[in-house]
Symmetry: C2
Subunit: 356 residues, 2 copies
């Protein structure tokens, strides 16, 4: 379904590593900011890299049958209300994106209610199925959702996006995300279940039972990413996976958000092996499953602010670091041009990747 | 020498904590970003807080007699060259400040050479003394350096600065910083000595010997901050301490940078007890002494990018998080205004401070 993924450019990577050593700072003294700049240069195939001019956040909104089963502190109607809030510019992701120089788009993938036509043109269905007892999606719906995500990535890149962020909005969506992470990492259900939006102990026990049952249904498909999304994911998660995979096909760097997006990323890496080389982890969520998923992808988060909001908020909070990393590499003076004496000894090598 | 420090506003703090619970997000889901916004509201005495409009970085440049003793990978002349580089806008701190919406000023406190008049009007002396065998400063010079820092904070606040960052530039300056941290935390010299700009094993051993000797000279003065700065600090460190203390007197929030600034902050807290309530730690440096100093101040860093550059770079990298935290509190919709249904249970309390 996806074209083969090629890795970021080796030559630009090498040039960027060399350039870091010429900039007026002790070798390696900007730490992970140096690695990040090198990675963007490699993604762009250009050293110095161009400033990020059009960072786009696409928020995938969808409801989940399991929400009626008491796995969230909020009722499902909040999904639609929050979609309106994002459209009006009042949600956290809107504010954070304004600060970080990104713009936000929200898409109704599977909201259990009506949303404006502007955002519901590709809608797959109303809510995904209750995954503890039934499939989230039919085979056709799942394929359509992946295609929707893929098309969204194409649209954004064709409109000039040079960095992509996927966000999630959906009451109950940490439950299918926990199932996917549990199935794909082999972790026990109890290790992947967090408090989501803030459930109490009874809610946590209900969530644990749902995750256990859905995981049992999912285990046959851990090597079939599409079947896994259909059985135990949801239309929003399938669309996210398609989006993240296609961003890599289109050679566009992605900042991953928290647990839900990273669950979709795990599946996307199976759909399009090598896609992860085009992603960096924005933040570490307090949701326990997030670390498991990041470890599996060998990605190390940039920021740890103990956030657990979703919407792409954790990725957007990390975006200024990417801006900073790119502009350091593009704008800092070199020892030569600034007339600054270099170190006496040999400079230390710069670490080389976005990954651990 | 400093007016008594009063704490950030309790009423604005309380209002900000309450406001976080009204914003359209699960209670506490923005984690430390929520604490940070509450802290700025308390510093400003205003909820919602005003956006940070004039963040200023003041870089304190100074040389150190110990640099001739082989404690750095770079020769002392680099201090003056880097001052020129900062003036020309080509150093890391300039680029990072442009990205983060801050402006940079550099001040020659004790550079061992001539710098433009624009920045050397308050110059204390050429280089500070070699602290392993002599005092860094005379009593008069030390008082003048603290006063210089205090005046710089006053000037900046009087010119409208609403957030201050101190940066350092000086070959060899991690050596006196290590001595101050070692003396004030009781840590052994070996626990506070890092690689600075990137010294080799022989350089590390020379640095260890200097720190050991200077610490021995300093230990009599651990309860006399001015005498400590004079004996084992330097003019730049004294000016930084005066600046950080006066920022608190003037009720202006500060983002602390790495090891050198945090060493000065330890002394500033002794000069003006309570000043630390006006500071937040920007980043965790890879210099081992930095964590010791932060623990002593009970400050927890916002960002950990494995940086060790100085110049204020680590604080400036954290500045976008402060912008984000303030604007979340000021601009996000509330459950009421957005027509979003709140959680079923009681909201969780928001953690309450900038500190651990």
């Amino acid at each position: 379904m996806f074209d083969a993924i090629t890795a970021p450019d080796v030559e630009a990577h090498r040039e960027a590593v060399a350039r870091q050593l010429q900039l007026t700072k002790p070798a390696g003294s900007l730490g992970r900011l140096e690695e990040l700049g090198v990675w963007i240069a490699a993604c762009q195939g250009s050293c110095p890299p161009r400033p990020i001019a059009r960072a786009r956040v696409v928020v995938f909104a969808g409801d989940h049958g399991v929400a009626a089963h008491g796995v969230s502190a909020y009722p499902s109607e909040v999904t639609r209300q929050m979609v309106d809030n994002i459209l009006a510019g009042g949600a956290a992701v809107n504010v954070l994106a304004r600060v970080a120089g990104a713009s936000v788009r929200v898409v109704d993938v599977s909201v259990d209610g009506d949303t404006p036509e502007l955002i519901s043109g590709g809608k797959i269905r109303r809510s995904s199925g209750r995954i503890d007892i039934e499939d989230a999606l039919s085979e056709e719906e799942c394929a359509a959702a992946i295609t929707l995500g893929r098309s969204l990535a194409d649209e954004e890149v064709d409109s000039g996006a040079d960095l992509l962020i996927a966000g999630d909005m959906g009451i109950g969506n940490t439950t299918p995300a926990a199932v996917l992470i549990s199935a794909l990492t082999g972790a026990e259900p109890i290790a992947v279940i967090g408090r989501g939006t803030g459930i109490d102990d009874n809610g946590w026990m209900r969530k644990a039972a749902v995750v256990r049952d859905a995981r049992r249904r999912a285990m046959a498909f851990v090597h079939q990413p599409e079947a896994l999304l259909r059985t135990a994911g949801g239309a929003d998660l399938a669309a996210m996976a398609g989006f993240l995979a296609q961003a890599a096909v289109r050679h566009t760097p992605v900042i991953l958000d928290g647990m839900v997006i990273t669950a979709a990323a795990l599946v996307a890496e199976d759909l399009a092996p090598g896609a992860r080389e085009w992603w960096v982890a924005g933040h570490r969520s307090v949701e326990p499953a997030h670390d498991l998923a990041l470890s599996r992808l060998q990605l190390r988060p940039l920021v740890d602010m103990e956030m657990r909001l979703g919407e792409g908020s954790g990725a957007v909070v990390a975006l200024p670091l990417v801006h900073a990393a790119v502009r350091v590499l593009a704008e800092m003076a070199t020892f030569d041009t600034a007339g600054v004496t270099g170190p006496e000894g040999d400079p230390a090598p710069v670490p080389a990747a976005n990954q651990e």
